[in-house]
Subunit: 211 residues, 2 copies
């Protein structure tokens, strides 16, 4: 019985408290960041608000910045899963559109937007934010390649496709705040992708007659 619990239900007091503390720190940190700004908030402010010692902060997060980006890994993983879940006979572009749309839609919530604001107005966070996109791109390329049976010849193709799509995601994220409020996230995503594929075809045509 006790051994049964060990393998999966093992969220004893220890794990539970640890998770709770982590959430408390994250919560306190984000609240303070949004309230006074990132730089103006010290680790001590955070730990005081979360009622843990200053030293303990670094037992939960490797740095102040990581608190802001903690959710990113989960997002990347969900995106990879969404790509992997697409039917094998689907084209890469269709698969990536469906996967991105679904994953982004599921992630668009209020806290996400406030976080975006904070990042946008904090130079130190902007750099980390770009790194996030780079990692996302890598993982996406990886997932797309896996769909192609890990064919080495497809590698550069999928790398470029990932770069293009993540680029579009980045541009889309910038355009999002100034979208018509009537448009649903689905429609917005649909429109972005339609435009993107159209542009790709046009650029491809344009290139044929170059020089």
């Amino acid at each position: 019985m006790a051994e049964n619990k060990r393998t999966e239900t093992t969220e004893g007091r220890r794990e539970r408290k640890r998770r709770q503390t982590r959430e408390r720190i994250e919560q306190a940190a984000m609240t303070l960041f949004l309230q006074r700004g990132f730089e103006a908030t010290t680790i001590e402010d955070i730990t005081e608000a979360a009622d843990v010692s200053k030293r303990s902060f670094f037992d939960y997060f490797p740095s102040k910045e990581e608190v802001v980006f903690a959710w990113q890994d989960a997002f990347a993983d969900r995106l990879m899963a969404a790509v992997a879940a697409r039917p094998a006979d689907e084209s890469s572009v269709a698969a990536v559109e469906a996967a991105i749309t679904a994953t982004v839609i599921a992630a668009v919530d209020e806290p996400g937007l406030a976080r975006g604001d904070l990042i946008h107005r904090t130079p130190a966070l902007k750099a980390r934010d770009q790194l996030k996109y780079a990692k996302l791109e890598q993982k996406l390329a990886e997932a797309l390649l896996l769909r192609k049976g890990d064919d080495p010849l497809e590698r550069p193709r999928m790398r470029v496709l990932a770069a293009i799509v993540i680029g579009a995601l980045r541009v889309g994220a910038e355009l999002w705040p100034q979208r018509p409020p009537s448009a649903s996230p689905q429609d917005f995503a649909r429109e972005i992708f339609t435009d993107l594929w159209k542009m790709l075809a046009e650029f491809g045509d344009e290139a044929k007659t170059r020089r």
Copy 2:
């Protein structure tokens, strides 16, 4: 005569020494970074090697990281100039290919490669590196848009084109170290772009039949 000099040739002892000191710091810093690594080098190590006070470092560079990326602004400016210099009747894709190729070729030198290595193996620098690409992308989009007479309708198009091309540049920079040593930078660039435009056309086609 003296007035003539004032406007452009005015590099008195002050300006000259300041520039020299800046170069000395940059030189010392990069040497030490490449030698012992970025993190393992302290500001004091640098200022000692450059024979200035610790405090003076921050009169020349806002942070340790900025020394590594000091050259980036110049690169971005040259890229913008190269785009602006392309004939007005040239297509955007042809213009961007020519401009990027020329600017990158001119910038591929030994120190550049060593710097790339350093950045690649230093997490803190990687983030800043991605930010560099983002800025480059913005400037490129700006320059491309200017060629189009600042037509608001072209803005998203040029943003996306810039994102695609800079994405390709990023992928290209990753692939560069493992290129066949026989290939000249020109050929390498030519090949990358040829592949890129081909992929764009293919993705565009693929998208037409999606769903």
